[in-house]
């Protein structure tokens, strides 16, 4: 009989208001500490181990469905994909040959000029376990974590361009923030003329915005934006976005420029995590270069 539960006049500890006040204060304190300091990362990592196991369990039905789907691919589409890939490989191989020649030449020239060699970065293939369900922040959980040597701050890309950045590392998983995340900034350069700027996420997975470029700046629709590498986080020369629309309204000091990410920010399943990125000796150069564009530096504080 559960009737006893209906009697409120036994002593049941503090009243609901007191409890609410206590737990609200506790939450506010935790939020403050979590937003300002890094003290809670250990607790989060510890709690994340069982929770991520459960999360994987939750994704299992979808995974099974996708595997079954992949298993039932028809012969015809396999053959077609195969021939297509072979053709692509031939083209790529030819381009790679040229690239190797250029690379050798570049290395030679650089050694002639006594400039630091650009290091090759190694990359790791990781699969998306999970797309974050929080609609405020689209994040990805990747299946490589601290055990595989992933570090926070490493760059995540697919075969076309940059997807995002590793922002938190768990023992077996890592969490990547997308470049399209609201106010996530990537320093870029226009491929055509080397114009430097910073591209910001808009919160929508299909859009990036290029702010603070004067109306008169030389930028056209269809321009490809690549990372400039002056932040020391993103290596130089990786494609980021393509300019899709430019609005030059004389009423505003800056042009309104919209871009779409080149990488399939929300389409891929396998991604690459770049590791072994630069090479400390180049950092002092970065510090020297920054004062020339102070406003951008201030904006990058969000990163």
């Amino acid at each position: 009989m559960e009737h006893t539960n209906a009697f409120p006049f036994f002593n049941r500890g503090p009243s609901a208001v007191v409890r609410l006040a206590f737990f609200s204060l506790l939450s506010l304190l935790l939020m403050f500490v979590d937003a300002r300091y890094q003290y809670l990362e250990l607790g989060r990592t510890t709690l994340s181990v069982p929770i991520h196991a459960l999360q994987r369990l939750a994704t299992l039905p979808v995974d099974l469905w996708q595997q079954a789907d992949a298993y039932l691919v028809t012969q015809g589409s396999l053959v077609r994909d195969h021939t297509q890939l072979l053709q692509q490989r031939t083209i790529d191989a030819a381009q790679l040959q040229q690239l190797q020649v250029l690379q050798a030449e570049n290395e030679h020239l650089r050694s002639l000029l006594n400039v630091q060699q650009k290091a090759d970065y190694s990359m790791q293939l990781a699969e998306i376990v999970y797309v974050e369900r929080d609609i405020f922040q689209r994040k990805l959980l990747l299946d490589k974590g601290a055990q595989a040597g992933v570090l926070a701050g490493q760059v995540v890309m697919d075969d076309n361009g940059i997807v995002g950045q590793v922002t938190r590392v768990y023992p077996w998983l890592s969490e990547a923030t997308l470049i399209t995340n609201k106010d996530h900034a990537v320093p870029i350069q226009v491929l055509r003329n080397g114009l430097r700027s910073v591209v910001f996420g808009s919160g929508d997975t299909g859009q990036l915005a290029l702010r603070y470029l004067p109306i008169s700046s030389d930028i056209q629709e269809g321009d490809v934006l690549v990372t400039s590498g002056i932040d020391g986080t993103y290596p130089p020369g990786l494609p980021v976005a393509r300019v899709t629309r430019i609005e030059r309204d004389p009423a505003y000091p800056f042009a309104r420029i919209q871009c779409t990410p080149i990488a399939g920010v929300d389409r891929q399943r396998q991604l690459l995590i770049l590791s072994g990125l630069p090479k400390l000796p180049e950092r002092p150069q970065v510090v020297e270069e920054v004062p020339s564009d102070q406003p951008k530096k201030g904006e990058r504080g969000n990163l």
Binding site: E2, N5, L20, S27, L28, M31, I51, L54, R133
Partner: protein, 172 residues
């Protein structure tokens, strides 16, 4: 004793701690399904809904403390700030406990009207914290509270049915 309880005594149905824990776990798992695109926008917060159910039906079993702990689990899973979900769920549980007598007296459709403001409040707390920290609010987020309120009737019916002792109908 009687196989069929009168309607106003349905809240007297038994609930074991294991059943409560299992229902909360299932709700969290539902939240963690890989929702995407429009479905993500429309996704109701199942954990909030189940917590609210228990807070209104068993206010002395499931209270603010349990809601807060469920919130912490949700925070770790969603990579939100530590305490963000917890605060929202604690407020929700408080609302549920304050209103539990009124909710138990009304029939299911009117209950929906009573709990919708509570859900909206919890969603508002979460969004307000996000706004404080990040400086913007995604308004589509609140669609989830509407869907959650619409799910109140099916969820209540389901949980009541699961709580009803099954052996009784066969035995005298």
């Amino acid at each position: 004793m009687s196989a069929h309880l009168p309607k106003d005594q349905e809240f007297l149905l038994p609930a074991t701690p294991i059943f409560i824990a299992a229902s909360l776990l299932v709700a969290l798992l539902l939240n963690w399904l890989p929702w995407q695109g429009m479905w993500l926008t429309l996704r109701p917060d199942f954990a909030a809904l189940v917590l609210l159910y228990w807070c209104t039906h068993k206010p002395y079993r499931v209270g603010i403390g349990i809601a807060w702990m469920v919130g912490i689990l949700a925070d770790v899973a969603d990579a939100s700030l530590f305490g963000q979900h917890a605060l929202a769920y604690a407020v929700l549980a408080f609302g549920g406990i304050v209103l539990h007598r009124r909710v138990q007296m009304l029939d299911l459709r009117l209950q929906t009207l009573q709990i919708f403001p509570l859900l909206l409040l919890a969603y508002g707390v979460y969004a307000a914290v996000h706004w404080q920290v990040h400086g913007y609010v995604v308004w589509e987020y609140f669609l989830g509270s509407v869907v959650a309120a619409l799910l109140w009737v099916p969820l209540t019916v389901l949980l009541q049915a699961l709580r009803r002792p099954r052996g009784n109908s066969g035995q005298p």
